[in-house]
């Protein structure tokens, strides 16, 4: 089956996806959004990936550094001109788990991607992450979590979490049913998008689109949401992630995150 990242890259852009050189899994393409060219980037599975531990849509060594490369290329191309919007289409199953990956510094490869996304955001590119599938753990930190705005399709296969459900059950010695019950009670533990949305990190949830086979109306809807998010970023005076603390949901669910910052500010300088 074609991956969600691939499906949406083809649906949202006007040209054949290009492969970032040196990878077989990092794809990009451009499209006009609201009269300006936007760059779309995604990570796709490849059963023939030269690194066996990154064949199912994981972010591995080539993927982390490949993302960093295309982002840095995009920033260089726009230097001194208009900073084009960058859209990360997120469908990443996890970071690659392997001995070789660890030895060769997969933590640095993923950091390089996060660094490049953050640099693009700080450099004035509106960066939007559109969650179309899995957004798991370290892979999401590398690909998407540094965006100015996070949007998600309202679809059961859109999954955001720090650890896979089965692995979490193993590690915490609970059964899957207990994991789900816990999630229903404690929103940050949940594997359900509607609970993630309660945390106030998302700027929008796009309902009613056919995530596996988007039609023209679906594509138009999603583009409309992307344009709105880009305009929202351009209208903002800041380039940080502050909007994740100011949404009405965040004021409630991330009250502790807000209180910590308030107290740091109060106690920072000697009274």
């Amino acid at each position: 089956m074609t991956s969600r990242g691939h499906i949406w890259l083809r649906a949202l852009t006007d040209q054949a996806p290009q492969i970032v050189s040196g990878t077989s899994t990092v794809l990009y393409a451009d499209a006009v959004l609201n009269e300006e060219t936007a760059r779309f980037i995604t990570v796709v599975p490849d059963a023939e990936n030269r690194f066996p531990r990154a064949r199912n849509g994981e972010v591995g060594l080539d993927e982390g550094w490949g993302l960093a490369a295309i982002l840095r290329d995009t920033m260089r191309a726009d230097q001194g001109g208009a900073r084009r919007p960058i859209v990360a289409l997120v469908d990443v199953t996890s970071q690659a788990y392997g001995r070789r990956e660890e030895m060769l510094g997969i933590h640095l490869a993923c950091a390089a991607a996060a660094d490049a996304y953050a640099a693009a955001r700080l450099g004035g590119h509106p960066v939007i992450a559109l969650l179309v599938g899995k957004a798991m753990s370290g892979a999401f930190l590398a690909h998407g979590y540094q965006a100015n705005r996070l949007l998600a399709l309202d679809d059961p296969a859109v999954l955001i979490h720090a650890m896979g459900r089965e692995a979490a059950a193993r590690v915490t010695r609970r059964c899957l049913q207990e994991i789900d019950e816990l999630g229903a009670r404690i929103p940050p533990m949940s594997y359900v998008l509607k609970d993630y949305a309660k945390l106030g990190l998302l700027s929008g949830v796009i309902a009613g689109v056919a995530a596996d086979d988007p039609g023209a109306d679906d594509v138009a809807r999603v583009k409309q949401e992307l344009v709105a998010a880009i305009m929202d970023v351009r209208a903002s005076t800041t380039r940080d992630l502050g909007c994740r603390l100011t949404s009405p949901e965040a004021r409630d669910m991330r009250a502790a995150s807000i209180a910590v910052r308030q107290k740091i500010s109060e106690q920072w300088d000697m009274r």
């Binding site: 060594l61 070789r100 933590h107 950091a111 700080l122 370290g138 533990m189 910590v260």
Partner: protein, 278 residues
Amino acid sequence: MTQGLSAQSFIELRARERAREILDPGSFREILGPFDRLVSPWLPLQDIVTQADDGVVLARGTIDGVSAVVAAIESAFQGGSMGEVAGAKIAGALEQALLDHQKGIATRAVILFESGGVRLQEANLGLAAIAEIHAAIVALRQYVPVVGVVAGMVGCFGGMSLAAALCSRLIVTKQARLGMNGPEVIEQEAGIAELDASDRRLIWSLIGGAQRHATGLADDLVEDDVTEIANAVRRAFKDGCPDLHRSADVDGYRAKIAAIDPAVALSPVELRQTWGTK
């Protein structure tokens, strides 16, 4: 790197004392201390006892007379894992240091890593906080080096290993371990043939501080000694930001990774020979 008579282990210290040793003598002032009682709102819901500092000590003070903040992770609480409050303390401190720089105050930032990564009981809020730590490091290091220390014995894993990789300067001891996935996680996800997590010698040879330093993935290898570590931190600020941060050296590292043939076995010793700079 010989230890003098007055050698004192850094690893044996708790987070609060570690932070104190990094700052100029007498300048330590804890903020958001235990009396503020900013504890995790999520652990009590799971019948887990909270800790008054949520496992992160924030200290203000000076380093060589310059305004500084140290964020020290306490591994004795929940393995140094990042929950909402612990993560917000680190991110918030770095954000405040950034505000200082925008006001013309050259506040220095040090992170003492000792973390297994996300705290699973606060899963998505831990992960979100880690993303905010990454954002703050990248923003702050435009102005001042962000210095990371991985001393041991927990090491630095998960999303916090990315934070360590984003630091301008990374100081490690040979007792440190730095990796994205803990050995147990790799064994569980990829099988014991991929990695035997009980083979401690192998683990150290792959992700230990000495190997990280020898392959260029850490900047300074120091003895487990408070004076040596504090001096290394001071040196890092004297040297200033690198011309190119390691995590932004895309061309350099892409060439190194491209030269790797995954079909050919590669030992940690061989990697030292090809990647080593020392």
